[in-house]
Chain length 341, copies 2
């Protein structure tokens, strides 16, 4: 494919019989240029379909106006909602976005970070892989380019972090169950110490404590991969207990849906016998019968907020690195799986 060259400043200058610098300044409304010249230049530029070569510009100014985004998995609904917010906000502010997937592979994540900085992105937005052992390298990169973390973050990395208020969200969810009169609330969580899981667990514990409910380790179940099948499996475990719980709080929608499937199979009444609350407000939560009560994470807002903070860091000349943690509020969406009848 033969890539036809775009119109350049030189061509415009040649055509008009002025210098390249005059053309450049005319196009950017520099006060030194007479309005007559400006009009001429602009007219010709429009006619010849001139568009500045962004490569040359970025090359000279050392600014690419590109943001890099690295996420573990692009096809998670929540992630793609965040990306939507990122794309919107970035476009609004005149930035383009490069997206990469780390596939939850730490090495790949690091490699991508490096390629991106090498490429000259102005800043990076990242949601971390599940495990991170080697923070040192990330810290190195942090020195060269602004970084903002979102969703999956880590306090070992000193930078601005955008998260949802996991703890409060979980707290509200569990309090909602308690408000329905539930007294024995199970939780399905992750065993590995994932940041998010821990926060949600903390909210669960606080809700129980503040309402003076006993904490029973037997109904605090963990799994390595918090998926639909594991949600179902763990619910089967709960059902086989002598003292069944009267509610299940799953820290993931998929696990919650697995739970509902298990309950449906054994004809356990939802929500009367056992109520279920999930976390994410994924598409599926309205598909399952009964519809799932869940925590709505405003992905769009997270994306937009992350971009705002990142651009702020990029454009403020010598500001010290921010280490702020911004917490986005969530809403509990009450549906049939917890509706008091």
């Amino acid at each position: 494919m033969n890539k036809k060259r775009n119109t350049t400043l030189k061509e415009l200058a040649l055509e008009l019989g002025v210098s390249i610098s005059t053309v450049s300044r005319a196009l950017s409304d520099h006060p030194d240029i007479s309005s007559a010249t400006k009009e001429n230049v602009k007219e010709l530029a429009k006619r010849l379909n001139y568009a500045p070569n962004l490569f040359a510009r970025g090359f000279r100014s050392q600014e690419s106006h590109i943001l890099g985004v690295i996420v573990p998995n692009i096809s998670h609904l929540f992630t793609s909602t965040v990306l939507e917010g990122v794309l919107d906000e970035a476009e609004l502010r005149g930035y383009r976005v490069i997206i990469s997937e780390s596939k939850n592979n730490e090495n790949k994540q690091l490699e991508m970070l490096q390629t991106m900085t090498q490429f000259g992105v102005d800043g990076v937005l990242m949601s971390l892989t599940k495990k991170i052992s080697d923070v040192a390298q990330i810290l190195q990169i942090l020195k060269r380019v602004p970084l903002v973390l979102f969703d999956k973050v880590s306090d070992k990395i000193p930078c601005t972090q955008i998260v949802i208020d996991e703890e409060e969200a979980a707290f509200n969810a569990v309090e909602h169950l308690i408000g329905l009169g539930k007294k024995r609330i199970a939780i399905l969580k992750e065993t590995e110490n994932s940041f998010n899981s821990e926060k949600r667990y903390a909210g669960y514990l606080r809700a129980l404590k503040e309402n003076e409910l006993p904490i029973d380790e037997k109904i605090i179940l963990g799994t390595e991969d918090i998926s639909l099948v594991n949600g179902r499996r763990l619910t089967n475990v709960l059902l086989s207990m002598k003292e069944r719980p009267d509610a299940i709080f799953a820290i993931t929608d998929s696990a919650a849906i697995g739970a509902i499937k298990a309950l449906n199979k054994y004809k356990v009444g939802i929500p009367n016998e056992i109520a279920v609350v999930g976390f994410s407000n994924s598409m599926n939560s309205t598909i399952i019968q009964p519809a799932l009560t869940t925590v709505d994470q405003p992905g769009d807002t997270i994306g937009r907020t992350a971009v705002k903070y990142l651009i702020q860091e990029i454009e403020s000349p010598k500001a010290a690195i921010g280490t702020m943690t911004v917490e986005i509020k969530t809403n509990l969406i009450v549906r049939d799986s917890t509706f008091k009848i």
Copy 2:
């Protein structure tokens, strides 16, 4: 944020007391350079963490090694699956990817195309907005940069197009229903002449004809927005008929799920009284009760294939523009919503 400069060739050259060109050649294993010098240079380059400035390189070579992708909506599961394939394949071949969302807005789509070419992408991958009235502008851009369309395509644009074999997929789906003994099969389609909808409708018609079943216009229902609610609405219409259908083929999973919800509400037996087939194999299709029989679209394969063809066009110097249409095969995933009992 102060962006620290990366190591440059000049710095390496200064340090070693050789010229910039020697360093450049040494790093790219040019035969003119002695192996002693090469080793020296490479050693220092590694030690100083040298990474070529991709902007400068792209600027000079007029190659960015960036692919642009424009999709209507990034958060559709199918789309993000395609994107996964695109990202993987592109990375494999040493390309980076810029993603934009057109939000089904034709003007935005055009604007993004232009920004991308201005930015110097080596090629563009695009899934079209629903309506396209102004093909002329796209044709203009087609002259400047290779373009490959996927999923939502148009025969008005002469370029390589990657689609799933919609017609055959629909044909297979309907034949599956006929194989179960169904004789009166309704279809839920789009009214606007969307490319995909028409193809699927054609497959539907062919299946009926080849099996010598009558075609009844009354059970061929269209809607502008083929969504869950409209699926439910149209199914209600079908249920109110004197002669009810014994199967429903919805050209979208969401519509199919809407259909199932309506059937469930009126306690219509699935699949015995009325069977349902969808299209997409979205996550939801296994969540709904009964699980939905649907056409699996291998998004990943589409993404990878599209990238392959695009890069081929980019890298083959003066090849005539391809106008090939590549059809990716699909699989029918049979689940409870059509299982013969």
